[in-house]
């Protein structure tokens, strides 16, 4: 999932802030009686682009949808392994080509209707038949069928060890009631099985109310209001004033000073996201492995991470962060300008070499990081021309291959296949750079069907090593998840996959 940046610069958000800044100033927060009573107000940075979980790719939408919909399995908040949710248990056939899921009993949708296997079949087939944004997650799926109201059978064309991750890692794989797309306008309406139901959504906030008949027990708060506050500094002030009780819109430069602030409880944890630079193989001399390696040697990842995240990011030369089982400790590129210059000379490149670097103000860290990268590459004779674009133009130019290099991140991946396959397989859907290495292709194919974890890790370690050595992506860092809430708020758990779940939250 490539999610929209949590800090999107939306004029609407700024207006909303002005609008709500005035009236509630007397409310000291927490137990005040000003409309809030037992409602949690969460400051998020952007408005959901739409609320259809199968269609949207925006992080702002999933922040809300996480609390409205359920999936068959869910990541454990602690270690992100897949746990039962709407499915209580599952078994695989001898040849690993058939998975049988037993569904939970007594689950109802927000409109009161019963949940059963027909809803699962409908939801999955909707994604597959309409080729929605997550259809690639079902690429090995031959069929999804009901076997009675309580059992769903998924048949595969080849063993798929990461099937649970594919159907459960986020709410893009939500279970909708049968015919939901015909009965409802899913872009603005919702009918899920989750702990909260959608009350309203407009340009200033999205409001959810607790669903009393939730299968895992009604949430302890009466509702959640997601209020859009674009400016991180403003979101933080709102939290300190007690206007909101939770936010993920924390300015990274203030993480350190907030540690001593009694009016705010701040928590950080390593995320599963990674940020990288990608060079265009169709534009010489970036098709030359030595040139890419020279650039990789010229970059000081620690400094880039520090500049962008003020210590809240870990430099990494591969994609998968340290906390993951699939983390591979491989760091062949120590900053070495001398070697970089040698490699450039060896490649026959005359310096100064000019390289355009495409970044987007939708994710300000790309602009900051690009300036540091430009400074570092200047030292080896590469002049970086930074182009700051709006995200739509950025995506267009990425699609057309109209760039020398770009800087961006991938968010929310859990399985090694998700980290590497679409990006580095020859002609992979997200292989915009044009990387092609038969050895990597073979390893990725092997990894996708290997069912034993240790063996899988060994395969992906090999693939990662080649990808890093070839500099298909120039990996830079894994940022932390940074969230803050009112002191005394309990039952909330910060998660590496940045899913925001308010099911068990209790207000102070």
């Amino acid at each position: 999932m490539r999610a929209t940046r949590p800090l999107a610069l939306a004029a609407a958000g700024a207006l909303a802030l002005t609008a709500c800044g005035g009236g509630d100033s007397v409310d000291t927060g927490g137990g005040g009686d000003g409309g809030g009573d037992n409602t949690l107000v969460a400051a998020v940075s952007a408005q959901p682009d739409q609320l259809d979980p199968h269609v949207t790719t925006a992080y702002a939408s999933f922040q809300v949808l996480e609390n409205v919909y359920d999936t068959l399995v869910v990541p454990d908040p602690e270690d992100l392994t897949m746990q039962p949710s709407l499915a209580t248990e599952w078994e695989t056939s001898e040849d690993d080509l058939e998975w049988r899921f037993t569904l939970r009993d007594g689950v109802t949708f927000h409109d009161g209707s019963e949940f059963d296997s027909a809803d699962v079949v409908y939801s999955y087939n909707r994604i597959i038949d309409e080729e929605l944004s997550n259809s690639f997650r079902f690429q090995n799926v031959e069929s999804v069928e009901a076997d009675g109201p309580e059992t769903v059978v998924i048949r595969l064309t080849q063993p798929t060890p990461n099937l649970l991750e594919r159907i459960g890692s986020f709410k893009g794989m939500a279970i909708l009631p049968e015919n939901a797309a015909e009965d409802l306008d899913l872009t603005t309406e919702a009918n899920g099985t989750g702990p909260f139901q959608l009350e309203s959504s407009d340009a200033s906030s999205t409001v959810l109310t607790a669903y009393e008949d939730y299968w895992d027990g009604a949430p302890s708060v009466d509702g959640v209001e997601f209020r859009y506050i674009t400016e991180p500094a403003a979101a933080l002030t709102a939290l300190q004033n007690g206007e909101v009780q939770w936010t993920d819109n924390v300015p990274p430069q203030q993480i350190e000073s907030l540690g001593d602030d009694d009016s705010v409880e701040l928590e950080t944890t390593a995320s599963v996201d990674y940020w990288y630079m990608s060079m265009n193989y169709a534009r010489p001399p970036f098709d030359n492995r030595d040139v890419r390696r020279a650039i990789s040697f010229a970059i000081d990842r620690e400094e880039v991470a520090e500049a962008a995240w003020f210590g809240a990011a870990q430099a990494n030369q591969t994609a998968i962060p340290e906390d993951s089982f699939f983390y591979y400790d491989y760091a062949p590129f120590e900053r070495d300008p001398e070697q970089a210059r040698q490699l450039l000379a060896q490649a026959g490149v005359t310096t100064p070499l000019t390289m355009g670097l495409m970044v987007t103000d939708e994710y300000p860290e790309t602009v900051t990081a690009a300036q540091v990268i430009a400074g570092q590459l200047e030292e080896v004779g590469i002049t970086v021309e930074i182009e700051t674009l709006d995200f739509a133009t950025w995506l267009d130019r990425q699609g057309e291959g109209d760039y020398d290099a770009f800087f961006l991140g991938w968010l929310g991946n859990l399985d090694p296949a998700a980290y590497y396959q679409e990006q580095h397989q020859t002609d992979g859907p997200n292989n915009y750079q044009g990387y092609s290495n038969p050895q990597v292709d073979q390893l990725l194919q092997q990894g996708a069907t290997e069912t034993e974890d240790e063996a899988r890790k060994a395969i992906y370690d090999q693939a990662a090593q080649i990808i890093v050595d070839d500099v298909s992506y120039l990996y830079l860092y894994n940022p932390d998840v940074v969230q803050a809430w009112a002191p005394g708020l309990s039952g909330y758990q910060i998660r590496a996959d940045k899913a925001i779940n308010f099911e068990n939250v209790e207000l102070p």
Partner: protein
């Protein structure tokens, strides 16, 4: 055939060249004089920017980030550890270059259009000025953003965009001034002795229609510097890491309660430059207005 009598020609010349008289009058207006001196200083800083800057503007040193003003860094350092004084100095070059280029474009094209429209009138006037009205109907910054969206961001395109936006302003000012001048006796006299249109325009009409254009130039420079800052603030003008005051302001905004100096110094630079151009424009208007001028010159005697 007879040469004009020499003594008469001499007596027609004023005791002092007109531009020196103008400068003299301007010097008697304290705000305008101070503005002019400050602007001269800013221009000198912009010209000698690389010599004056204590550091390279893009020398990144993340370890030295967000240092408050000190002897080593009189304006402090920004979030990437760059010296803000150096960046403000280099930013002067960027802002003024874009400003002068933009106003240059608007001045040349706008004045020519205004001259032609005012001098020839009739359909030439109609066609040219309706096109100008069309351009003028767009809000200035919106039009500049549209131009940048088509041409791509960058300081050269920013100058072009701002220049295009201000063409109608100069066209209108010039046309209004020309309309008055073209009916003057000396113009008609010159025409009656067979002077060509080109000679009429360059020798008589333009010089006498110039004062409002000069005032407009000064005021437009203020707007152009401001517009460049605004466009860079929005990410459409000067691209990072190049220092531009507007861009520095945008970058400093997020640090305002942590490190005020990031936004303060570039903000002051914009404020001072724009103020000076405006005050100078005010002073010039007083000095160049014939009625005011007589009053001022008379008062001085």
């Amino acid at each position: 055939m007879t040469a004009p009598p020499e003594p008469a020609a001499v007596s027609l010349k004023p005791a002092r060249p007109r531009w020196r008289e103008t400068l003299g009058l301007l010097a008697r207006n304290p705000t305008a004089a101070v503005s002019a001196v400050l602007l001269l200083a800013i221009v000198l800083i912009a010209v000698f920017d690389e010599t004056l800057a204590p550091q390279g503007p893009n020398e990144i040193s993340v370890g030295d980030r967000l240092q408050s003003p000190s002897w080593a860094h009189p304006f402090g350092t920004d979030d990437l550890g760059r010296d803000i004084l150096s960046r403000v100095i280099l930013g002067a070059g960027v802002s003024l270059r874009v400003g002068f280029l933009a106003v240059g474009i608007a001045l040349v094209i706008g004045t020519v259009i205004g001259l032609l429209a005012g001098f020839y009138g009739r359909w030439v006037d109609d066609v040219l000025m309706r096109i100008m009205d069309m351009l003028f109907a767009f809000p200035a910054v919106l039009l500049a953003i549209a131009v940048l969206a088509v041409r791509g961001a960058g300081s050269g395109n920013t100058a072009l965009a701002i220049g295009i936006v201000y063409i109608p302003v100069f066209a209108r000012v010039t046309r209004a001034s020309v309309l008055g001048v073209r009916e003057e006796v000396y113009v008609r006299a010159s025409r009656s002795v067979g002077a060509s249109d080109l000679r009429l325009l360059t020798r008589h009409v333009l010089p006498n229609a110039a004062p409002p254009i000069i005032v407009q130039t000064s005021i437009s420079l203020a707007f152009a510097v401001l517009a460049e800052a605004a466009l860079s603030f929005l990410g459409l003008g000067t691209q990072p890491p190049n220092p531009s005051w507007g861009l520095m302001l945008a970058e400093g905004r997020g640090f305002i309660d942590l490190a005020w100096w990031l936004a303060f110094f570039p903000g002051m630079a914009i404020f001072l430059t724009v103020l000076c151009f405006n005050l100078l424009g005010d002073g010039l208007r007083d000095v160049l207005d014939p009625k005011q001028r007589t009053l001022m010159a008379g008062g001085g005697r």
